[in-house]
């Protein structure tokens, strides 16, 4: 009985605090993305503008770690039984990815373009799906920031 109460409290906490934190994070992501919109992050490896005079090129990277909460974990473990889209985890991966790209761009605010952008993800804490464990997701974005004379 006591254990059940602990679980309900943790799941409730996860839902209320977790969704407030998520909304806040999304607001911050959207506004920062708008500010950094002038730097395109592309996957092509070579300069598109062949005749550009490059004055600076360096590797930049940004990474973000986002944790799941007990509510999302409960929802996901129920999904594991029935199958289907694990919507609860989608926002976590999305936040981690976009935050990583933002941090990467923030490393080179004066760059004109980020070439060869790559995004990788990994789970932190192998206990992510084991008994009582709470896992996190890490997204790391890296690329080559290029500045050229205009």
């Amino acid at each position: 009985m006591e254990q059940l109460i602990v679980v309900i409290v943790l799941v409730g906490l996860g839902y209320f605090v977790g969704s407030i934190a998520e909304k806040r994070h999304y607001r911050s992501i959207v506004s920062r993305e708008a500010q950094l919109l002038h730097i395109p992050a592309v996957t092509v490896k070579n300069m598109i503008e062949q005749d550009a005079d490059i004055i600076d090129a360096r590797m930049i990277q940004g990474s973000a770690v986002i944790s799941i909460d007990h509510f999302k974990r409960l929802l996901a473990s129920l999904r594991n039984i029935f199958g289907g889209k694990v919507a609860a985890y989608e926002s976590l991966v999305d936040r981690a990815r976009r935050e990583a790209v933002l941090r990467m761009k923030e490393k080179a605010p004066n760059a004109d373009i980020v070439l060869n952008t790559r995004i990788e993800t990994s789970t932190i804490g192998r206990s992510a799906n084991s008994r009582g464990g709470i896992g996190s997701i890490e997204a790391i974005a890296y690329g080559t920031a290029v500045s050229y004379r205009k």
Binding site: M1, Q3, L4, V7, I8, L10, V11, Y15, S19, E33, A34, L37, H38, P40, I48, H70, F71, K72, R73, L74, L75, S77, L78, R79, I81, F82, K85, A87, A88, E90, S91, V93, D94, I113, N129, S130, R131, G132
Partner: protein, 255 residues
Amino acid sequence: MKYVPKELKTNINVTKTSPPKELFILLGGVLAFLIIGYVVLGFAVDFVVPRLPSSVEQTLSRPFERNFADAKENKKSEQLEKVLQKLVDVMPEKRGTYKVYLVEHKQVNAMALPGGNIVVFSGLMDEVGSEQELAFVLGHELGHFANRDHLKGLGRGLLLYSLLSLLVGPDSSLAEIMGGTLVGIQMKYSQRQEIAADTYALDLLDRQYEQVSGAIEFMEKLSIKEKKGHFAYYFSTHPHPETRITNIKNEIRKR
């Protein structure tokens, strides 16, 4: 080619859902599946248990007997044996032999274990005032044997844990929520068994002593000591002592 920055207004990577709604639908589905499975398989247990050969029960009883093999013999345990024998003599339907063990523990409780083994804790012996009160306690446990409740309980307990671990695996939070619901059903069933065992004990008392006052005397003692309210008994294996007294009085009136 000119790069024109454009802001995306929608997020296609995240499905728009209502998490609480999703939780209730999924949880409801799992619970419905568990409850149906538990009820259907519960009937299967009830069907199999009366047909279980006694050799199987003997095998099941071995681990329990090993625990109580070194229980000491003394005056009190001799008295227990004597009263038990008196009751067994008047039992309408005997299955094998019955043994009673006295275990030193302050708990006011007795248990019916497979193989006709009854365990009485010394805490209960201290509460018991007369031979008839003791006879009611032993008769109650004999009632569990007569109704095969000890094996049904074992079977259903096994069922509960297998279903839970099958469906939700080692995930603790989910198992807790599911378990809580099923235990509620299990307890309802268990409380019915207790009432039936009380009725059986009354019958034995009536046959051996031709009076049943010991039953009410003993239950009233328990009732006075009990501080938990009726609501706390919802998740308990036994009904509230007052509920049991009401049942005993009803049974007496019927005779």
